[in-house]
């Protein structure tokens, strides 16, 4: 090969680099390890984490069962080791699955169009807000304090430098639902969007219709956010929303210490041209066979550059495929039954502990520790190999001493009873 190139050795291919930029020492990284040692290393790291604990943590990352077929499918090299399907003729596998993904997201959310995925739920929220700003030509955004705290933090990071003022409105301290008066008070005709989450961070189902009415009355868009996708198996889809931004981690995506997950943005047809991210569309090949391809890329950065709807390029395709396989396996009946099991388990435990809020909830709820303190309760549970609920004081000082408990289909009754008695004591 060197002869073909016409150089004596590989080093000479770097000779043109300025001498003083070259690294004149080996990288300070231990020499290569064998596969066996690498597997061993990560197993040890894994053993240093929680293992064999029952968990009641939710708060945006849910402990749902992952059907085996999910990894079977995503482990196929044809999916795992391909990239963005720019070349439709040899990418119909990925393209078809994304088209199915877009369709299922529309069916779940009641929206007309959905994109091929965003980084995660937290980043899809600001992208949705920016979309609303483009659509309305307004710049103010109102976000509910019951939206996931980290989603709101990411929204602020994105908003701060785009002249996009973000203001929060409160929640009803007894019901745990939106404080609609506060919303009414704060919304005006400079408001581009009102952002709500349901089930909200407290697990409580919001009244989307009312929120939409208030937003629309002022000409603002309603952005509906979901963090627990399984809830869509049971909850009325947010048909009154204009844009939906969500997180699909619940659909067979491992918690994996917080990522990779898959976010989505779905919207009403009329906002299509302002959607961020990739879209797959149906078309034909020259033989008249149905085919799929990336489309409407004039919205995207590689064509539109500084005027693009977003800078997103690489998305979360393989993770979205996990969700697609999950949705296929559970299907119409299964997703509902799964949601019902979550609902039933959560209500079983909720029935045995002091609740902080009175609103209707899905598979999460806020429990009071009645003065004992969240940490004390959780420490006692850790002794029983149970990871308790999330102490809310961290994100809501006013809820210090309350914990956010989640019950998925994976929690077992005896563990729930242990949690109940820990909270009762």
């Amino acid at each position: 090969m060197l002869d073909t190139i016409g150089v004596p050795n590989i080093e000479s291919l770097f000779q043109h680099l300025p001498e003083d930029v070259l690294l004149h020492r080996p990288l300070n990284i231990p020499r290569g390890k064998s596969e066996y040692e690498i597997v061993d290393y990560f197993r040890q790291r894994g053993d240093e984490n929680a293992n064999g604990y029952a968990t009641f943590l939710g708060a945006g990352v849910y402990n749902h069962y992952r059907p085996v077929l999910v990894d079977t499918v995503v482990s196929r090299g044809e999916f795992l080791t391909s990239y963005t399907p720019y070349q439709a003729e040899i990418s119909q596998g990925v393209l078809t699955s994304i088209f199915e993904f877009q369709t299922m997201i529309c069916q779940l959310t009641g929206m007309d169009v959905a994109n091929a995925s965003m980084y995660d739920g937290s980043t899809s929220v600001p992208e949705a807000a920016m979309m609303a700003v483009r659509v309305t030509g307004r710049d103010r955004v109102l976000v509910s304090r019951a939206v996931h705290p980290e989603y709101r933090e990411v929204l602020l990071t994105y908003a701060q430098h785009q002249g996009m003022p973000v203001e929060e409105f409160g929640y009803d301290t007894s019901a745990g639902t939106l404080d609609l008066e506060d919303l009414e008070r704060k919304i005006d005709d400079t408001t581009a969007a009102v952002i709500i989450q349901s089930p909200n961070f407290f697990g409580i189902v919001e009244n989307v219709k009312q929120a939409a009415a208030i937003a629309h009355a002022k000409g603002a868009l309603l952005i509906f956010v979901f963090a627990e996708a399984v809830s869509l198996g049971l909850l009325e889809p947010p048909r009154d929303a204009d844009i939906v931004a969500g997180e699909l981690q619940s659909f067979a995506i491992p918690p994996s210490y917080g990522g990779p997950f898959a976010g989505i943005i779905a919207a009403k047809e009329k906002f299509l041209r302002q959607m961020p991210g990739r879209l797959v569309g149906e078309t034909r090949d020259t033989n008249g066979n149905r085919a799929f391809c990336l489309t409407l890329s004039t919205r995207e950065q590689h064509i539109r550059r500084e005027k693009a709807t977003s800078n997103i390029c690489t998305n979360q395709a393989l993770i979205a495929l996990m969700a697609t396989v999950f949705m296929s396996i559970y299907g119409k009946q299964g997703l509902r039954e799964l949601a019902e099991q979550n609902l039933s388990k959560a209500h079983y435990l909720a029935g045995k502990v002091p609740l902080r809020f009175s609103g209707p909830f899905f598979n999460e709820f806020v429990a009071k520790t009645n003065g004992r303190g969240a940490d004390a309760v959780n420490d006692s549970l850790l002794q029983q190999k149970i990871i308790g609920g999330l102490p809310l004081g961290r994100f809501y000082p006013e809820l210090e001493g309350s914990v956010l408990l989640c019950c998925t289909e994976m929690v077992k009754r005896p563990d729930m009873d242990r949690v109940a008695s820990a909270l009762a004591n």
């Binding site: 929680a50 500084e306 559970y330």
Partner: protein, 500 residues
């Protein structure tokens, strides 16, 4: 002559929705061990949906056949060379998939107690250290989910620093050869983009740059090697020009596969950069993602990094949220952790010299392909190539055949095409990045194929324009797709079923 492929039957497959039949199921749940709760009672009738209209109803066999069949319609690295320029489609080691599924890591919840997360935190710490060493920078954040996300993070860091100095400034300079994410990112960070024209050698022109840099300029976003695969030889001077005016230099690290172990951005004046762990560090592209856009910075930018930050306190890792100057989180939780695990596994498997050898092989392969193709295709710029080589279709265009057509014909030869029409400063670019994990045999087949296509272009351009011929899906009507967008399946839409 096509040596690499032969046609074989592949199964047709309808969409899942077309496969569905009412009542079919592919799941089973455990028996409920608590009393069943009535949804309408618990949530209220208005909040409870009746059904998920048209959602799939298929069996487990249907599911595995569906996705197995679809997969056979797809090209992938595991099937052959994937020389998509700027994407670094190298082999994705399978051991990385295994370790990322290690129970204690894959099932770690980001809110579980730190005492039960030490392993995950150690993995992140180890990776931050390795990436700092590789880039020559002082601190690293692993939070960004992809390259573009890293760019956004990096520009916000620059903005925060400048703001702390009293003026965030107005403009970001971007060479016209830059990837689209660069200008798009600058806009998202609230900056005006000013494009810098590359010179006739395809690199940043110092004079043009000097003229452009003033007190309004916050930073230059430079890609090195640039999107032509050419190293910016005057990178230090470039940095100096910006630093002199109090501006910073952002480096798009998408092409780090040309530099690892050879030279370090931290050593040639870069203030902040991102790495695409899904490129340089071999994490699988998965049909479009996930990735990770780790950002490395020099000391002066460290205080502004997104939080929380890892902190060692008496032999244990803790998360430090006390970061008064942080730009705030760019993503919930701790980034694409599963991707980080894979990247660390890759670094461990290679070790310092292994990484360096990989870089050298990547550059060797690119130059080998370039050498074989230069007689047949017009090299875009004569400058020496690093990890990729970029040609122009000028010669073929004379026959009415453009880079996109050559790409389609290349498919018939059994290859995924190179990157088409990027960078924009090249007339009909063919951007070829073989990566180090391709052997000579595969590269020879690639070159043979491209040379053969070049000949076909002269002999029979019309034939080339209708390619590909050997795929189960012939050339796809992308124009039609955009003109009348059909972005989801609808019940009526079952016309073409038989044909699929």
């Amino acid at each position: 002559m096509i040596k690499k492929v032969r046609p074989h039957i592949t199964q047709n497959e309808p969409l899942l929705f077309e496969r569905s039949s009412p009542g079919k199921i592919g799941y089973q749940l455990p028996d409920l061990d608590v009393p069943a709760v009535n949804a309408e009672e618990a949530l209220g009738k208005a909040n409870t949906r009746t059904e998920i209209e048209d959602f799939p109803e298929v069996s487990e066999v249907d599911v595995i056949r569906h996705f197995t069949r679809l997969s056979t319609w797809n090209y992938a690295i595991d099937l052959g060379c994937y020389p998509l320029g700027s994407c670094t489609m190298k082999y994705n080691p399978r051991v990385n998939e295994l370790v990322a599924r290690t129970e204690g890591l894959a099932w770690a919840h980001p809110y579980q107690p730190e005492s039960l997360s030490q392993g995950a935190m150690e993995v992140m710490a180890a990776l931050e250290t390795a990436l700092a060493e590789i880039t020559g920078m002082d601190a690293v954040t692993l939070q960004p989910a992809a390259g573009a996300h890293g760019e956004f993070t990096g520009i916000l860091l620059i903005r925060a620093l400048l703001e702390s100095r009293g003026n965030p400034r107005k403009k970001i300079l971007v060479p016209d050869s830059a990837h689209g994410t660069n200008p798009a990112t600058a806009t998202m960070a609230g900056y005006r983009v000013e494009n810098i024209k590359s010179n006739d050698r395809g690199v940043v022109d110092l004079e043009t740059l000097s003229k452009a840099v003033d007190e309004d300029v916050a930073a230059l976003m430079v890609t090195n090697p640039n999107t032509l695969g050419v190293f910016e030889l005057e990178i230090q001077k470039i940095a100096a020009i910006l630093h002199d005016k109090g501006a910073l230099v952002y480096m798009d690290g998408a092409n780090m596969n040309a530099l690892v172990g050879i030279t370090r951005p931290g050593d040639f004046g870069i203030d902040v950069m991102h790495l695409n762990l899904h490129k340089t560090f071999s994490t699988p592209h998965g049909g479009g993602g996930p990735g990770s856009g780790a950002v490395a910075v020099k000391k002066h930018l460290e205080p502004f990094l997104p939080g929380p930050r890892l902190k060692r306190v008496d032999d244990r890792w803790t998360w430090n949220y006390d970061l008064p100057q942080t730009i705030g989180k760019v993503r919930a939780f701790h980034g694409n952790f599963g991707v980080l695990v894979r990247a660390l596994a890759y670094i461990m498997a290679h070790g310092g010299d292994g990484l360096r050898r990989a870089t050298m092989d990547a550059v060797l392969n690119a130059n080998y392909v370039r050498a074989l193709l230069e007689p047949h295709y017009q090299i875009a710029y004569p400058a020496p190539s690093m990890h990729e080589c970029v040609f122009s279709d000028v010669r073929q265009a004379k026959h009415g055949v453009r880079t996109g057509d050559i790409a389609k014909r290349l498919i018939d030869y059994g290859f995924h095409p190179y990157t088409v029409s990027f960078p924009l400063i090249v007339h009909g670019a063919l951007m070829i990045e073989p990566t180090e994990t391709e052997g000579k045999a595969e590269l020879d087949l690639l070159a043979d194929a491209l040379i053969s296509v070049a000949e076909e272009v002269e002999r029979d351009p019309q034939m080339v324009l209708k390619a590909p011929y050997s795929t189960r899906t012939s050339r796809v009507d992308e124009v039609g797709a955009a003109r009348r967008p059909v972005l989801r399946w609808k019940p009526r839409d079952t016309a073409s079923l038989a044909a699929d």
